[in-house]
Symmetry: C2
Subunit: 232 residues, 2 copies
DNA sequence: TCAAAAGTGTTCTCCCTACACCCATGG
DNA sequence: CCATGGGTGTAGGGAGAACACTTTTGA
């Protein structure tokens, strides 16, 4: 491997390696993903997940976080590698392999005036045509998210610090695509013993004001260490 | 990207991309993995998972299968990508990213006289020191296998076509590292309705001859299509 | 005023778990 | 003859699922 005139030469051909980041948010109504509009070919003008070339001195996760920050200004509260896509023809520029990450973010923390001129949240129910094989990447990301939320408390990453039971239920319903009975959902969730009542409900408030909860991560970590298996 | 004198030049540096394959087998007693002894530096003489450089005209899974076949002569009955390892210093030869696969094989089908001179099965309870970061790859592979067997009928890939309930139970116990009550295990497993009794038990045979079963994949696929979720 | 959403308890069923004894084989 | 391993059933507890009515708010 030698460097000449800014070029890099190897005895065998090498694929390019990129990262892509599927970042989910929840606005209280729909599950959303962040897309950026491509400013350069190929697929110029089309929407795609934030991502880019992996640098030689960073791990894939560092690369995914860097690209996300550069292109959208966001720092996710959760990030996880979920699949590497390596179809031979997936990028018209040549052989490009992408390591894909799933990230979660509490949208309510997103302040206006993002760094990204061309980034926007789209409901997963209404996704535009995507560049490259990003439609497949989204399908796999959604499948992974559904699997995760069955057994890990990742849902709380998408909610504000303090939330109501109906909010939490709607989030689960949005992700899993099913409906739960309100009473059963609340009973099951409270029975896990990982939520704490904030007690912030105004004393004289009517029954229409929902009780608010907070996720107790310490309690969850303790239970998990004891071999407890969350399941939903 | 231009080709000169057998060399390949790019405007930016690129990592090498390899695949590695953690292939599990079960001999009726222990869960095993196949390792190959490295014949060249680095880590010459040490054991490692079969794998090698990804070629430009093959997907990662094709590359993993090819390397496995070349180095061990084996064709797995199940293969799944589980993680891509990208630590900057994981390979002393330079920046190498490896896409790791988990594979399963019914050992009883392995005929003597493999292609591989230096391949051997090792009990997961007794693994030698491994080359590169392959000890971490093994840990992640084991974790993935445990997760899989909770919810997918992958255990049958490790058993002969026809097997007994105690065999199946011991396999589950080997993978999950727990003990089950015989009666409860059999009841739960049979209740899933994905096994069929082979009926091959000799009519007059004593109760010491175990009843044999066969995995009914058609039934499982049918149940799965109906939204049934296997769980163990 | 009407529709939509939130609060609240009970019952039934099913699955998981714990548990003991007998028989046959092989060493 | 003894140790090992395999076959077999039941009872109790706990969690999931089904289910209706009242109240409040906002359109």
């Amino acid at each position: 491997m030698k460097k000449e005139k800014g070029e890099f030469t190897y005895p065998y051909p090498r694929p390019s390696v990129t990262t892509d980041c599927v970042i989910f948010g929840y606005d209280g109504k729909d599950l959303k993903v962040l897309l950026v509009q491509r400013g350069i070919p190929p697929f110029k003008g089309m929407w795609a997940f934030p991502g880019g070339y992996l640098q030689m001195d960073e791990t894939a996760e560092e690369g995914a976080r860097r690209e996300l920050l550069e292109e959208t200004g966001l720092v996710p509260s959760y990030i996880e590698q979920f699949h590497t896509f390596s179809e031979v023809g997936r990028d018209p520029r040549g052989r490009v392999i992408t390591i894909a990450y799933l990230a979660l973010l509490n949208i309510s923390e997103v302040h206006g005036g993002d760094d990204a001129a061309k980034a926007d949240w789209f409901s997963v129910k209404d996704i535009p045509q995507l560049a490259f094989d990003h439609d497949m990447i989204l399908r796999v990301a959604m499948k992974t998210l559904r699997e995760r939320i069955h057994f890990e408390p990742v849902g709380f990453e998408l909610l504000p610090d303090v939330f109501t039971m109906p909010q939490l239920q709607h989030l689960y319903e949005s992700i899993l695509g099913v409906r739960f009975d309100r009473r059963n959902f609340a009973a099951k969730m409270l029975h896990l013993d990982i939520l704490e009542d904030t007690g912030d409900r105004p004393a004289g408030a009517s029954s229409r004001v929902p009780v608010t909860y907070r996720f107790n991560k310490e309690k969850y970590d303790l239970l998990k260490a004891k071999g407890f298996r969350l399941e939903f």
